[in-house]
């Protein structure tokens, strides 16, 4: 379809539609610099520089006073020596994995419905999906108390139908509560990229599949689903990465066993006065998340799952 819109210029080389008319006269490199500069500056000041500070901090003996200029590996040694940190890290990764999996599972049908059966109401449905994100994050977390609390909706309902005779407590303050709350929070973030990926699928492909005798479920498995994988991957990353470092939700609903590594990092920075340890833990998370992501991206690119047909 895109090839139809492509214009041949006088020299016969093809350009992406749009670029050649508006930005005519500016050399390609100039265009590139102008387009990339704002994002690059943003990244340098708000990501690269803070990251360098974090790395430097992690090698200091202390964040303040005379000890702040002393080089030390103490925080790293402590990280490997103390199993508590590793356990929390694994717990955080596990919770993130669970959350990402279930979020995708729940948002896929939603996105599918919007993309293929939304019809005229697609934009309305999109808005409905996004509206909850306008409310404060904290409020949405706490709202779950109304449902999961010991005198909440779930307990009241179960009591009413007589399934239990005493309210179940500890539903709200648990790892499960953290997972449930986060899934709820992230659904729009996962649904949107999947929706976009599904919408890009040309209806013609599905018609072709059915013309060639495939049943709807076969068409879904062989055509729709593979083509939506880039969206799923994007959604997974949107959910997984912020969840690993999450600390508000576990602090609010996690109870004694639902705390995550983010809570300890927060503690080290705010109350423990141990900024080097906090920095080390932050970097450890970064590495733990980055390595599998880079590997996954490699594999995805090789197998063409990220689309683009390069």
């Amino acid at each position: 379809m895109t090839t139809l819109n492509r214009k041949q210029d006088s020299a016969g080389k093809t350009n992406r539609p749009g670029t050649e008319t508006k930005l005519a006269g500016i050399p390609r490199t100039g265009q590139l610099v102008m387009l990339v500069a704002p994002a690059a500056l943003w990244l340098i000041f708000l990501l690269i520089l803070p990251l360098i500070t974090l790395v430097m901090l992690s090698f200091q003996k202390s964040a303040f006073g005379p000890d702040s200029t002393v080089f030390s590996l103490n925080s790293y040694i402590e990280f490997f020596r103390n199993s508590a940190y590793q356990r929390l890290m694994l717990r955080s990764l596990w919770i993130s994995l669970l959350v990402s999996f279930f979020t995708i599972l729940l948002s896929y049908p939603l996105a599918y419905y919007m993309a293929f059966h939304g019809g005229q109401k697609q934009s309305l449905m999109l808005n409905l999906l996004i509206i909850p994100a306008w409310t404060s994050f904290l409020l949405r977390v706490l709202a779950w108390r109304v449902i999961l609390g010991s005198s909440g909706l779930l307990n009241t309902f179960l009591l009413w139908i007589g399934l239990i005779n005493q309210p179940i407590t500890g539903l709200f303050y648990s790892q499960t509560a953290v997972v449930i709350t986060l899934i709820y929070i992230w659904i729009p973030f996962a649904a949107l990229p999947i929706y976009v990926a599904l919408q890009r699928i040309e209806p013609g492909l599905l018609e072709a599949a059915s013309d060639l005798g495939s049943r709807p479920w076969q068409a879904f498995l062989k055509v729709t689903f593979p083509l939506s994988i880039p969206g799923i991957l994007a959604g997974f990353l949107f959910v997984f990465i912020p969840t690993v470092g999450e600390y508000v939700t576990p602090a609010m609903v996690g109870g004694p066993n639902g705390l995550m590594i983010g809570n300890i990092i927060w503690d080290q920075f705010s109350r423990g006065l141990d900024w080097p340890m906090g920095a080390t833990l932050s970097l450890a998370i970064l590495v733990a998340v980055l390595i599998p992501l880079v590997l996954a991206a490699r594999v995805a690119q090789k197998s063409g799952a990220l689309g683009g047909g390069r």
Binding site: G149, S151, G255, P256, G272
Partner: protein, 366 residues
Amino acid sequence: MKIYRFHAVILLTALLATLLAGCSAGAGPQGIDKPEKPLVILEWTGYEINEYPQFFVPFTDKYGNNLKDYVSVSVFGDDAEAFSKIQTGFNADIVHPCSSWWGLYVEAGLLQPIDTSRLSNWDDIPDVFRNQGEYNGKQYFVPWDWYYEALLVRQDLVKELPSSWADLWDPQYAGHVSIWDNGEVSYAATALALGISLKNPTPADDKLIKQKLIELKPNLLTYWLDYTQAIELSASGDAWIIANAWQDTFASLLDEGYDVAYVEPKEGYLAGVCGYAITTNNTQLDLTYEFLNAAIDVQSMANFTNEYWYGAANTKSIDLVDADIVKTLGFTDLDYALAHTTWYPPLTAERRDQLSDLWNEVKAAP
């Protein structure tokens, strides 16, 4: 053209004149001239001078209309948080930590000594409070409020009232106990439950207490983070026992009509005294002493006890306190009341780090 400019100049002068006149007419009350910048007070949540002017009556009466020109308040919910904030460069003029943390402030060179001759009610503060704020022969703290930590129990929900710190581990309260997310106080409560002295803890004690705190987890609903959450947990009925709750939590739940009891464990209350100190970079000493005098004023302190049921360092204020409160909390005989308490021992920097690590390990345990 020229005429227009002339008009404009006149108009402008007139405007400026009225503005200036307005300023001088609106200038603050007499006394100390309006300071260049307000005094910055690092304060516990729930004590803010702008929210609770009755705790600092003479000061707020005098500056009430322009209070924000004279003081600005920044709040904290935990001593560790306050200390970290000030260590990391927050410029406060007056701080309000509690006794176990006092030494750390002095040690870090954050404070200047207090000239007690400038405090009009100094003699009404008993030695038992004053002595804790004295370092190297100099007074660094003006004791202000003192508190108990005990078991706050929803007596309508439990079958049996707890009577000891050790009852936190009782399975009959499983899933309904909440302790403070604070290593220092949870350590102290456990030590009392096990009969371990808080003075000179050994590594073996630390190990035992850590283990015991991990064993408490199945009984826990959640850790409470601050006073507001403690109230909320008890009010919702989710938490039957709030450990290390202060009197104000009890008072505010009673006010709202909840059937709560404030149980003194048989090992005794945990207790601490908190007080104001002047930081080294505070240059507005006149205004500072005016504030301190207002804080330890008899009426201010009585208003404070009436509101939160905390003990007042100025014991003269007891005559102005509601008789029921005095009786409930045993304030009538201070010596008797204090004999029933274990004071928090002073922390050192090393101990602070140890407790912080111990607590992190407890929280990270499966």
